[in-house]
């Protein structure tokens, strides 16, 4: 390895070989998440929701940020995982982890089938097809309300995790750590995938599809693969989302769900996984806590969120996390 690094100037090979290693700073979000649990018990459901949405946003980042597949219908997978878990629990299958795994499977299957059809297209057409799929599923869930509970939804209960830790409907103790654990797991999977040659080849697809064809990459197939992975992770996120809340409505398939998660991801910064953390957190906090500061008459949150988005694009073109890029680069150059 040192032999390899010695041959090129600028440490390009060293950088490539080092890219997947963990840095100390990567502990920061987890430390914050742990601290939040103890500091803000009154916001624990909101915090749990943020953890789950981060996982959802990470799954979206795999396709948007890495493979360049922009989707306005990612809630299709989130909702499918969610309904799988919820309907299983409602039918008496109350063990949460197996239900969640099945949620990943159903969402992944949907990803496989829809990817086969949809991923032939690009840009606006792809956007519209993903969106149409999401909305069609929404309509379906709405009309099949005998099964899904429709607009009003259903309340259900899960058994204790591993038979030991029951879900907490009031303080979200177990619920929080459940979401936390699967966020860690999902993040590690995503991080491994993007640092593996597979993930690098996705970046290639995003950067230049024509070239990928010309170096012998089966582009369609690879996009389908990442689509399935992203769908399965989104399915897990959806399953956790409803399991920790013990409630599901057709909101999980809503267009807003797809739209908002995309906005949150872009806000944080795409193609870097950690963008999901910051984008979801900032957006959700602005959306939900503006009112505790400014009140609800009139509802300022839309103004605050809107201005935040516009300002971000004008002053932080690569998303909020992109603000740190020049700093990091300078730091690297100095240490190199």
């Amino acid at each position: 390895m040192t032999a390899a690094t010695a041959r090129t100037n600028g440490g390009a090979a060293a950088a490539l070989l080092r890219a997947h290693r963990f840095r100390a700073i990567e502990l920061l979000p987890w430390a914050i998440a742990i601290a939040v649990y103890f500091l803000f018990p009154g916001y624990r459901l909101l915090a749990t929701q943020i953890l789950v949405l981060i996982l959802f946003a990470i799954s979206l980042d795999l396709i948007v940020g890495y493979a360049g597949i922009v989707s306005l219908g990612h809630a299709a997978f989130f909702g499918t995982g969610a309904y799988t878990a919820a309907l299983l629990a409602d039918a008496g299958w109350q063990e949460p982890i197996s239900a969640l795994a099945l949620g990943a499977v159903t969402a992944g299957l949907l990803g496989w089938v829809s990817g086969w059809i949809i991923l032939r297209t690009r840009e606006l057409t792809l956007l519209m097809l993903t969106m149409a799929l999401g909305i069609i599923l929404y309509e379906l869930a709405k009309d099949l309300d005998d099964i899904t509970g429709g607009f009003d939804g259903i309340n259900f209960e899960n058994s204790a995790i591993l038979g030991l830790f029951p879900f907490d409907v009031l303080y979200y103790t177990t619920n929080y750590w459940y979401a936390f654990a699967f966020l860690v797991l999902g993040f590690l999977v995503a991080r491994t995938v993007v640092h593996a040659p597979f993930g690098r080849s996705l970046v290639g697809i995003r950067e230049n599809v024509r070239r990928m064809h010309a170096i012998g990459t089966p582009v369609q197939q690879r996009m389908r693969h990442v689509y399935v992975i992203a769908a399965a992770i989104a399915g897990v996120a959806g399953a956790i989302w409803v399991q920790v809340q013990g409630n599901i409505t057709i909101g999980v398939y809503e267009f807003e769900m797809s739209g908002n998660i995309l906005i949150m991801l872009i806000l944080g910064g795409t193609g870097r996984l950690y963008g999901a953390f910051i984008g979801v957190t900032v957006f959700t906090i602005l959306e939900n806590l503006t009112e505790t500061v400014l009140g609800t008459d009139p509802p300022y949150w839309e103004l605050v969120v809107g201005v935040a988005l516009v300002v971000t694009v004008l002053f932080a073109p690569r998303g909020l996390l992109g603000v740190f890029d020049p700093l990091i680069r300078r730091f690297r150059e100095r240490s190199a």
């Binding site: 009154g42 409630n247 939900n288 509802p299």
Partner: protein, 400 residues
Amino acid sequence: MLKHTTGLILAGAVAFAATAEAREIKVGFIAPKSGGAAQLGDQMEKGARLYMKLHAKDLGGDTIKLIVRDSKRPGGPIAKAAAQELIAREKVEILGGVIFSPNAMSIAPLVTAAKVPFVIMNAGTAFITKLSPNIARVSFTMWQAGYIMGEHAAKEMGCKTAISGYTNYPPGKDSVAAFARGFEGAGGKVIDSIPMGGPREAPDFTPFFQRVKDKKPGCFYVFVPAGNHAAGVAKTYLSLGMRKAGVKLIGPGDITQDTQLQGMGKAAVGVITAHHYHADLATPENQAFVKAWKAAYGAKSTPDFVGVGGYDGMAAVFHIIKSAKGGKITADSAIGALKGWHFNSPRGPITIDPETREIVQNVYVAQVYEDKGMLRQKKLKTFEAVKDKCKELKIGRCGK
């Protein structure tokens, strides 16, 4: 500086000691303040605050701190997170509000676990009071108006056939199911039932109404959620010339919501609805209420049934606080106090059914007419002390 601060603390302590008896009771209030249903949340909050203002003295020095949270969308998660925060962080003693039924559904397990009483001031899907023993409802259920409208249409309006059109979500289904029971029970026949899109879709009813017009029923029963959907109903009815074609538009009062009525223009004249409230009710309670409302919110502002829901909801909250007599408010004591609670509301006398914790109230059949360029509603008939038929008949999830 230090001395100054100490002085303040001392002064505070003295003030506290002087009013040791008086408490500040935190009441959580969840309603949409932005998004498509914002005007409903706004109405409900205005109603609640009006009651607080008019009856501030009733609590004998105790005060209420109303903490409002925006539920934004009809789905569960945002309202649920707000409820968790209100209970766990703000430590509210009573929770109230809620426009949309799914909001109420998602909150139900929380109020059960936290033993906090939950006063539903609007959400009208019939079965939700069954989800927690700590829920009481002071608004309405879709069954109350729907069933009566059905009976009335068959018996009094001479309609032999009817078509129902509804917004495709549980309150809509409740409403048309109730209508069909009442109508067919009284000898009529419902020849078609048309889902007209979801509550969050664009309220363009033309294709559905045209379908109805072409089928020529005697009565056309429509349920849509209050708000801009309501305004769309009368307009479409008029613009398709359905009245001329001999189709009578009827429905629950959601389609002649007072706040929307003037905007409907002549389109609404003649429409007959069944509902538990309209702003033109000629009772002293209501006239005083409307006057106080206009004094507080301007002459152009009108209360409607959502506002009355907030008003009566706050009356229930006051009743809970007064019954606790300065002691701790628990869900058991609060709901216990509400069971059988009687109140002379602007809408007429109401009680909470001790069995179901559901409101029992009058339902009025009323017709829209024009008076000096203003649209008003005239009461045709009163049905007294109407209970929720859905639970009485144990239909669907109401029976579980």
